[in-house]
Symmetry: C2
Amino acid sequence: MEYTVQKLAKMAGVSTRTLRYYHEVGILKPARINTTGYRIYGPKEVDRLQQILFFRELGVSLEDIKAIITSPNFDSVSALKDHHRKLLEKRKQLDLLISNVEKTIAASEGRIIMNDKEKFEGFKKMLVDENEQKYGKEIREKYGDEAVEKSNERFRNMSKSDYEAMTSLGVQVMETLAEAMKTGDPSSPLAQKAAELHRQWLSYHWPEYNKEAHANLAQMYVDDERFTAYYDRVQPGATKFLRDAIHIYTGFKA
Amino acid sequence: MEYTVQKLAKMAGVSTRTLRYYHEVGILKPARINTTGYRIYGPKEVDRLQQILFFRELGVSLEDIKAIITSPNFDSVSALKDHHRKLLEKRKQLDLLISNVEKTIAASEGRIIMNDKEKFEGFKKMLVDENEQKYGKEIREKYGDEAVEKSNERFRNMSKSDYEAMTSLGVQVMETLAEAMKTGDPSSPLAQKAAELHRQWLSYHWPEYNKEAHANLAQMYVDDERFTAYYDRVQPGATKFLRDAIHIYTGFKA
DNA sequence: CTACACCTTAACGTAACGTTAATGTCAAGA
DNA sequence: TCTTGACATTAACGTTACGTTAAGGTGTAG
């Protein structure tokens, strides 16, 4: 089979510009050029294009792809491993970025006050103390001393990355909740996602997850104005919306 | 205080070109320009530059930064949340990419044969069966029926993302091992990292981690030619190197 | 007076195409 | 045969956030 640019482009799901560009940089030359100057591609070129697109999917640069497929004995596995290392590096960077953005959002919302990296450890400890001071008594009454102790112990023993994962979840709960409220329906997929995220977040504080307790906690958020003030920052009524979503999610009502 | 381009650049850790560019696109104009055409920056510009760099650190584009800091009542928190969503999307893409690269590497090394996504579930089950068939007896003898059952059960119950995380670790063990062998020293940081990665990988197969068992397993790798063949694919002697690294890592000798 | 470090603008280069613009070609219907 | 419309071509600018020369003016210390 022979193909013109557009035929091949359509088949491969790329633009004709891409094919011309690949010709221009010499990574994929047409089998021949007809009398009127049209590019004509054959089966070999189809295969080659597929190879190119495969590596492109993996995020390899055209230059590297060229090296891979032109050199006959190029070690594609070690090239991929190199690429793999780069990707892991990139993800590390991205994770760092995400956690910084999250901290900034949290700080802007007044949930935390933070700047100095060295204060991180002290900050964690401070949060425990503050949490204990503010809500310790009520939580103690409702869930018993042991639960409070375990929660605090878990918090103190959390690694930095655990802590960041938790912060991340906290931000995501708020964001998803904000989105979900636009639907107005606590049973909507988005609202259920918010409930699910809240469950995940909770798992950092509770030794064991329990649907009924989750439902009760959601009700407590509504009853206690400090919690209400916190979640309603998303939008007035957000706390009740979250409670309803969690009640649907858990199948329990407090 | 007043600063020329280079002074400010050095202070902020950017290039002079960057400052000129920021002037050019109007995101940061100097306080004034002296008689000879030099850019002179004042304290207000210093602050503004810090703001710019802050957002830049977060990966926000200059265009968006301009919008953020020029509009007086721009909602920077919701801008950040938007950006956060984009970053999460990006990370998802990146994760997908990484797992695809890993699968490709695994396939190239002949460890798995795979192409069709729909065969994924069946493939997982197949691996359990194969594992059981090949090594079940030996493992049973050394670690008892219960351990084997638990391992298989865990494996079957693994979510797709768990499975991918495990595959990822497997690839990383091999890669780190290859790097570590260049040092020739099983106590080197890189070799110890390989041992640590191996421990993490193991945690997907063992119900509980145990240093002594880890050390024993490493010895078994050396004794059993099938395992040796697997790890020696990195380089001849890699299995022994890994064992030594693990023995140092665990503080046990088998 | 001479170095030498500093400043300026101008303009090309980067990666991988997208997007016009201006123009030539092919197949089919009137 | 003529026209129409879909297709082809090359050329060249636009994208992002600067890096990198190039060619030349300025400030100051010795």
